[in-house]
């Protein structure tokens, strides 16, 4: 055992926190936020360019910014934050020392070097190949090498996480099974290993191709394997942010899973089926058969979607149960009305849950339907969908838990509480607008990754409907609002970490309303079969289900209006 480990006992949770784990959580979270800022600014400039009346950037800068935006926020911000989540869910929640802190610093260093390398390559202007870098389009070798280093770093982080689990088990730092949040983090890490392996399998030959050692990369094969990384890595995000939802419910309200068995099975479904999603990107591709497409795009009969739909019931259900146990029992929705909406951790988490389900989830399943993809593939509908999953879902959830990490891990009080209180709402409204208006523009046929839909310089022109232009203008306005929400987050978080009041070693932090975590003991008795009532959640889930079914069939109707095609 590593005797040099230094622990402190957290006065709020009673957990023993290893200083190496704490430092690594801090370092990864800080870098994550820095790249959120950079990537967010690129994103704003893109939205303002798409807005035809503003048309901010010239074409080459637009494509450069688009490449950098995808990489910096989709990969760097999220994976760095996920490293912090992995260390938190292993070392901190399991009361354990972190395995091999030096390797964990190697993770941090490699990922940072990789991230900077890719950014420099992109900013030099010869790697504007988009985040997906589809061959035969070729970037500079540094672009691919940076990605590889970043992926290797992340892989080391996963290994440290698994090592920590082994140590915790071995040293018996917890009793029984790991907490549900840790279970979710394990799900994320297992998917991450699959993802990063896919990335290595395709990026290493592509890098060799860019330096002239390999002569040809088949574009279809590249897409199939690349999306084994590209899409599956979004499933790391889903697992991680669902774990974060459960964590925030527990920390703020003392919520407890309605049933451990059901929630864990839902995570298990992710591990078993989410990786088939590469097919979502190959639905209108030549050379791939329909039966392959149908099986894979539906995750073998939508079994991974089933996982998310289960969490969609159990997360709000556990919150309702916790609130009712505290006496908010009046009518259908008192528990929801009297939830701590002024607490940015809770507000962000609940908005993330609702928007991920209604906007991201439904649009994803519809777009991933084999035939319906024909009317959506590569239109702005696609970024509309994934801004709802990755930004409204993952980013908002990660922002929400930051409001708990700042007092617990950075041990600083959150400054500007009024700004913090409003932040999740401003960001959520902005992102909802971005998603909806991009989906709207996509439905009208507007292509994604396109600098000029007026086709001013084209040999032959095409006129999009005025509604499409309106959508892009509204998208620009929403992006400004989202950027404002993002700026509020960064000001509050960076300000708190640098200038917030230090929280003493024995001082307890108030995470939720009044009783907070202590109330958990009261709620903690199993509320299983028959004893617990969650009628409000049943109504919410019912509304979700009806919206889902209606929207699904409306799109079949749209499809049926096309020219016959076979």
């Amino acid at each position: 055992m590593n005797t040099s480990s230094v622990f402190r006992t957290c006065p709020t949770t009673g957990l023993r926190v290893h200083d190496a784990a704490e430092n690594l959580i801090k370092a990864n979270a800080v870098v994550a936020v820095v790249f959120l800022l950079i990537g967010g600014l690129f994103g704003l400039s893109i939205a303002l360019t798409r807005w035809p009346a503003v048309h901010l950037l010239p074409a080459d800068w637009f494509y450069l910014a688009l490449t950098a935006h995808g990489f910096d926020v989709l990969l760097v911000w999220i994976i760095f934050f996920e490293m912090a989540v992995l260390y938190f869910a292993s070392a901190v929640l399991l009361n354990c020392r972190l395995a091999a802190p030096r390797w964990a610093w190697a993770q941090f260093g490699l990922m940072l070097v990789g991230a900077v390398m890719v950014n420099v390559a992109v900013l030099q202007g010869n790697s504007s190949v988009m985040f997906t870098s589809y061959p035969p389009l070729q970037a500079s070798p540094w672009f691919y090498l940076g990605l590889i280093l970043f992926a290797v770093g992340a892989l080391i982080g996963c290994a440290v996480f698994f090592g920590t689990l082994v140590i915790a088990k071995d040293e018996k730092t917890y009793e029984g099974s790991v907490p549900l949040v840790t279970f979710g983090a394990i799900t994320a890490a297992i998917i991450a290993v699959f993802t990063l392996a896919s990335g290595a399998i395709i990026l290493i030959p592509t890098w060799l191709w860019s330096v002239g050692i390999v002569s040809n990369i088949d574009p279809l094969m590249y897409k199939l394997v690349w999306w084994g990384m590209g899409h599956s890595s979004q499933q790391i995000n889903v697992s991680a942010h669902v774990a974060v939802w459960y964590a925030i419910g527990a920390m703020v309200l003392g919520a407890k899973p309605i049933s451990e068995k059901v929630s864990r099975t839902a995570f298990l479904l992710y591990i078993l089926f989410l990786q088939l999603a590469s097919a979502h990107h190959l639905l209108v591709e030549p050379g791939v058969s329909s039966s392959w497409k149908i099986f894979n795009t539906s995750y073998a009969m939508y079994l991974a979607v089933l996982g998310s739909m289960i969490h969609g019931l159990t997360v709000p259900g556990s919150i309702e149960a916790a609130q009712r146990a505290k006496g908010f029992n009046k009518g259908m929705f008192e528990w929801l009305r009297k939830a701590p909406w002024g607490n940015p951790a809770f507000a962000g988490m609940f908005l993330s849950l609702v928007m991920f389900g209604f906007l991201g989830g439904i649009s994803g399943v519809v777009m991933g339907t084999e035939q319906i993809n024909l009317i959506m593939h590569n239109t702005l509908y696609v970024p509309g969908h994934f801004h709802a999953t990755v930004v409204a879902g993952t980013t908002l959830a990660f922002m929400a838990i930051t409001y708990l990490l700042v007092p617990l891990i950075f041990r600083r009080e959150v400054i500007f509480p009024k700004v913090a209180k409003l932040q999740p709402y401003v960001f959520a409204i902005g992102i909802a607008g971005i998603s909806l208006f991009m989906m709207g523009a996509g439905t009208l046929g507007v292509p994604r990754r396109h600098w000029d839909i007026t086709f001013a310089d084209a040999l032959t022109s095409f006129q999009f409907s005025p509604a499409a232009f309106l959508m892009l203008a509204l998208n620009g306005l929403s992006a400004i609002l989202a950027a404002l929400g993002g700026a509020m987050y960064i000001v509050v978080v960076v300000g708190s970490v640098l200038f917030g009041r230090r929280i003493g070693d024995t001082e307890k932090v108030q995470l939720g309303p009044a009783t907070g975590t202590q109330a958990a003991a009261a709620v903690a008795s199993y509320g299983s079969a028959g004893t617990l009532r969650i009628p409000g959640t049943v109504v919410l889930v019912g509304v979700f289900f009806v919206s889902f079914v209606l929207y699904y069939f409306v799109n079949w109707k749209y499809l049926a209006e096309l020219w016959p095609l076979k």
Partner: protein, 179 residues
């Protein structure tokens, strides 16, 4: 709580809440329904991606396009020949930086075998305002049977990024009433 180990050690034997069981069943059945809807549409729907595709060298595809252009061009429009192949025949559309080549003139209600490929990078064939979107790869020739059911002028834009002139990549298909 979700951040602490389960309070019951043998959590997998806990009874499951009725609401959860019902929702799992409903969600599962909905998944099955969506799965079979896709299969059903292959039998009864009119809009399905074709499973016909061939490997092709870019120059071979270009030769086939040239042969069609030479045989069936009816007029010139700027840089583009407008080609009107006979109904029922094989028609070709080639993606290249930065144009969809050539322009086609089809007859409403007639069926054509449309061949799509690229001679350089990946492109996105996006027929507007219908919003039919098909990915086009260099080295792969996909063939689909298509029946225009509305007449007029249709724009083709590129919706797969293909370099700095990507936004200037366009083309056109005319659909005319049967003569």
């Amino acid at each position: 709580m979700a951040i602490t180990p389960p309070s019951e050690r043998i959590w997998w034997k806990e009874p499951v809440h009725k609401v959860e069981i019902i929702w799992v069943i409903v969600a599962f059945l909905w998944g099955v329904a969506m799965f079979f809807t896709m299969i059903w549409w292959h039998g009864f729907g009119q809009q399905n991606m074709s499973n016909e595709a061939y490997r092709v060298q870019p120059f071979q595809f270009a030769e086939k396009v040239d042969a069609m252009v030479a045989a069936h061009t009816v007029r010139q429009e700027g840089a583009f020949p407008v080609v009107k192949p006979p109904p029922g025949s094989d028609v070709y559309m080639m993606g290249r930086v930065y144009m969809w080549w050539p322009m086609l003139e089809l007859e409403k209600g007639q069926t054509y075998r449309l061949h799509l490929s690229s001679i350089d990078l990946q492109h996105g064939f996006s027929l507007q305002p219908l919003n039919i979107n098909i990915q086009v790869h260099p080295g792969y020739e996909s063939v689909m049977t298509i029946t225009p059911t509305s007449s007029g002028e249709f724009g083709i834009v590129c919706n797969e990024y293909c370099g700095l002139g990507h936004h200037t990549m366009t083309g056109r298909i005319y659909v005319v009433e049967r003569t």
